[in-house]
Symmetry: C2
Subunit: 308 residues, 2 copies
């Protein structure tokens, strides 16, 4: 089993959806990636930063799931990154109400010695030069480096983004961002252009419309499981990425065929994430539930047409 | 092999896309359904109406594909239904420029004697009472009655729509229309409500985001094949429906498992339809091309996760 290093935010979220609202609860991309990867029992280390206001219980909960938090710096006199948002009725769009960077503003990730040999590195959505600094700290090039990014960095740090793209294997990005980065409307053409920027694998996330995996002309698609109720979409994208990375770390197989499976595992875990507020559903999720829903994914997508 | 009866429009379209524009060319839901079903060599009869201005060559082309046009009434002193539209850059939205109902305004479909025993009936997007009149003309209840409809009829003839829904087996509808008809945002809940209105099978078309098939708690999803270029989306939905119905007519198996395959065949044919203006691609499409692309669909969707 491979080691997984996940760099991202560990944060407070306050969320409002048509179903209710929360006070400050546990959130952050590093948290969701870690909890998703924990489903595979992989050795995951999270690199992040929190303030002195961050409850020890949250870190203890993560540790209890097998997540190593040695790389989570605690700035005692600082405040934890805080995001607050409100989802609209359709759950596909949201307004950001508050973004307080706090300790994240000066975040310089330090990779713990014990994770400098991680086989798989998941670079969460941070400044491209911060992502680069993590790669620079590794003992050797990881077997698979996965990068998440967003339009904000395309607008504000495109040159740095292009630099780090040359050094990673997989990019995860949403459809609008893929279009922005490539200047192509068709996702097939967008993926082709993004391949040329560096990543051999391009994962395009389409939210409720599923996710596409591209690898130099090969394509795979995983739908999102249609659900009767989406309670809170926060963290679904990070859970998807964490499931993807965690499955690959567990299976130690980075062939295209196995990346297909990883995409399905990611979609599967994301379908749980949205069922409750914040990390709640992921904290309580059992292996049996995961397996049962994988069965639903097979029913949803597998068919029997002979081509002979 | 079963007989397929398709009721719909046979029409002139004039189309403008970012790739170019056409004069009046052959279009209409009945035409696209017939051409798609022709791929399976089924005995398809189209019921429709055209004016004296409709070129005989178009009917001869349809006949040459094995489509029976005895049910296409020709109103010599009338003009053929004409639609003109312009697609936006994203190809997902369009403006209707012209709609001239012409002979369609007084259309009363007459099912030819030789198709009154059709096993599968595809009721194209027409007034619900017109759709009902077709069912009334059949010698017996068909094995499978498929109905296409749209928001226009929900706004203007909801009561009639509910009446005909009680008599059909499959409804094909797009996502927004499913939400409007059911009053539910979640497509899972929408399908449940629509089941209660009559149809045991609910097919929800999501355009470039694929199609969902629901059958009382069971679900199946077929993606649209991601394409480098969508040239003209006109007729894709009807081609999907025609492929679906044609495959079922050919295989004479209306189990849920086989409906899955039919959805894939429908998506497959729709992926060709959009590659050229109007009916052009469907007219020239070969069986080998269809089979090759089915292989691409399998690559796109099939994975190998063992659940034991």
């Amino acid at each position: 089993m491979s080691k997984l290093l996940a760099v991202g935010t560990v944060a407070f979220d306050a969320i409002e959806t048509p179903f209710g609202k929360t006070d400050k609860i546990l959130g952050g991309s590093g948290t969701f990636v870690g909890l998703a990867a924990a489903q595979f029992g992989v050795h995951t280390g999270v690199v992040s930063v929190v303030g002195g206001d961050f409850p020890k219980e949250y870190l203890e909960m993560m540790n209890s799931k097998g997540i190593n938090t040695d790389g989570v710096e605690i700035v005692e006199n600082g405040k934890t990154f805080f995001w607050s948002g409100k989802y609209h009725n359709d759950m596909n769009s949201r307004d950001t109400l508050v973004t307080e960077l706090n300790v994240l503003a000066d975040f310089t990730p330090v990779v713990p010695e014990s994770f400098k040999d991680a086989d798989i590195v998941m670079l969460g959505n941070l400044h491209p030069s911060t992502q680069m600094s993590v790669l620079d700290q590794m003992n050797q090039k990881p077997k698979l480096a996965i990068l998440d990014t967003m339009n904000f960095w395309m607008d504000s740090a495109l040159e740095d983004l292009h630099k780090v793209l040359k050094r990673i294997d997989v990019i995860t990005i949403n459809d609008e961002e893929a279009r922005q980065l490539s200047g192509e409307y068709s996702l097939v053409n967008a993926a082709k252009k993004i391949h040329e920027m560096g990543p051999k694998y391009v994962v395009i996330k389409k939210g409720e419309h599923g996710a596409l995996l591209f690898n130099n002309g090969k394509m795979f698609f995983a739908p999102a499981l249609p659900l009767a109720e989406v309670f809170d979409p926060t963290g679904a994208g990070d859970t998807f990425a964490g499931g993807f990375a965690g499955y690959l770390a567990k299976t130690e197989d980075i062939s295209f065929e196995n990346l297909k499976n990883a995409i399905i595992y990611g979609s599967n875990l994301a379908s749980f994430c949205v069922e409750k507020f914040g990390t709640q559903r992921m904290e309580e999720l059992s292996g049996d539930e995961v397996k049962e829903r994988l069965g639903a994914f097979k029913e949803l997508t597998q068919f029997d047409i002979k081509l002979s």
